[in-house]
């Protein structure tokens, strides 16, 4: 147990008070054995980025349900870059239309989990990319 600690930040950047999804995600990640830090709602991109740096996380799971993801998520990536930690994986979750997936990836988001996906997909992605564990389809 001691050797494989995965730390994940669940961040809610933007003016969005709908935190049920983020809390469900945080709980699911916890049950997967990860250490989860939750920022709470209505964070600025700089707040999320500084938290990620201080907590030295492996992955940031962003969630925003207001449709502001195209603006606000890439700003988190920018803030991480400014702090010299753009090596941290950034995942996007929420009601993200399919046509926004590529633009997000172009701006440095590593993967997008939109409608139809659940915490298990995020968990498997993290296990594969951070722990190097191949996940069966």
């Amino acid at each position: 147990m001691a050797d494989k600690v995965v730390r994940v930040l669940v961040g809610k950047p933007g003016l969005d008070g709908h935190d049920r999804a983020a809390k469900v995600m945080a709980r699911a990640l916890r049950d997967a054995g990860f250490e989860v830090i939750y920022t709470g709602i209505r964070q600025t991109p700089a707040q999320v980025a500084q938290t990620a740096v201080q907590e030295d996380v492996d992955v940031i799971v962003l969630n925003n349900l207001t449709g502001a993801h195209l603006e606000v998520f890439p700003l988190v990536v920018e803030e991480l870059k400014k702090r010299g930690r753009d090596d941290i994986y950034v995942l996007a979750t929420g009601v993200i239309p399919f046509e926004d997936v590529e633009p997000l990836k172009e701006k440095g988001i590593d993967e997008v989990f939109g409608p139809g996906t659940g915490p298990i997909h995020v968990i498997n992605w993290i296990k594969e990319h951070v722990l190097g564990e191949k996940q069966g389809e």
Partner: protein
């Protein structure tokens, strides 16, 4: 279905870089030093350098422990305390411990939420730890984390622990000054006071003192503390209403200076150092014991005491 994402390479820092950045107060280096210790990746040389550096350093951080039962307002108090200290232009480092699941090892670390509004701020550092890796209620990582924050020369280092069980006592060994936070109207006041914590802390912070039952609780407290030699002082405040915070800071500063001047601080820090040696010994032996017990065969005919003694003798321990 999904596009293949090129795998990112996690930032790697050598111990040399970590140490250099840490003592400059750089967040990335500081955060990584804590991770290396926590993940047991740090060699003993990093810790040796940190302890040697701290011993020679003139600047001493004030290490303040905050403990108390769940719901008394520890996180809220720390948030308003940090806010007030930041306004004075001071640098604050905070460590908070939350429980980890004994089943999966996973943890939800939510102590930051109360003070996220103070970020982004270059003078405020907050790190969440899980109680993972504790053997017998003791987590040597937290002690060493304090040393790491000291190396980063924070003016104040604040430790918030789970307010239950063994930790209450551990935190006293960890800090220069420890405050027990209580709130009025807790039915278990008397039980709580009997547990012995009251003999060890320097200060009792009566939070939520704007509630009408507060003065009665203080009365009960007074009657108990009077029976204890060198009894802790009591400060009434309301973290939520931000009342009494400046008085608390003044108290802490004065008390810390008093401990420094009369030599108690030095003594406490020596005790802390000794306690941590014991922590590491217990942790290392605890792990070995755990392994042995997990793998060991069950023999209901043998006395468990006998097996324990003979195994320890085998390991070269005098028993």
């Amino acid at each position: 279905m999904r596009n293949k994402v090129s795998k990112k390479k996690r930032l790697v820092l050598t111990e040399e870089e970590v140490f250099r950045r840490l003592i400059q107060g750089d967040e990335v280096g500081l955060a990584r030093a804590l991770s290396m210790i926590y993940r047991e990746e740090a060699t003993s040389s990093l810790l040796s350098r940190i302890y040697a550096y701290n011993a020679d350093k003139k600047h001493k951080s004030k290490v303040i422990g905050i403990t108390g039962a769940g719901g008394v307002g520890k996180s809220t108090l720390i948030s308003v305390l940090a806010e007030a200290l930041l306004k004075k232009g001071l640098r604050i480092g905070i460590i908070a411990v939350d429980p980890s699941s004994p089943k999966t090892g996973g943890a939800l670390l939510g102590d930051r939420i109360r003070l996220q509004h103070l970020f982004p701020n270059p003078n405020l550092f907050f790190r969440s730890f899980s109680s993972r890796g504790m053997v017998g209620g003791i987590n040597p990582f937290i002690f060493d984390a304090v040393a790491v924050l000291e190396a980063a020369s924070f003016d104040y280092i604040i430790i918030e622990t789970l307010g239950i069980g063994q930790d209450e006592i551990d935190i006293v060994h960890m800090c220069d000054l420890t405050a027990l936070v209580i709130a009025p109207g807790l039915g278990d006041d008397v039980q709580f006071l009997k547990s012995g914590v009251i003999e060890l802390v320097d200060l009792i912070v009566m939070n939520k003192s704007d509630l009408p039952t507060a003065s009665r609780t203080v009365g009960i407290l007074n009657s108990y503390t009077r029976m204890v030699e060198n009894h802790p002082d009591i400060i009434k405040l309301s973290a939520y209403k931000k009342q009494g915070i400046m008085e608390l800071i003044e108290y802490i500063d004065n008390k810390w200076q008093e401990l420094l001047d009369n030599g108690s601080l030095e003594k406490r820090r020596m005790e802390r150092w000794k306690f941590q040696v014991g922590n590491w010994m217990r942790y290392i032996i605890g792990k070995r014991i755990h392994k042995f017990v997990e793998k060991g065969e069950v023999n209901p005919k043998a006395s468990p005491y006998e097996i324990a003694i003979s195994t320890l003798k085998e390991w070269g321990c005098e028993v």
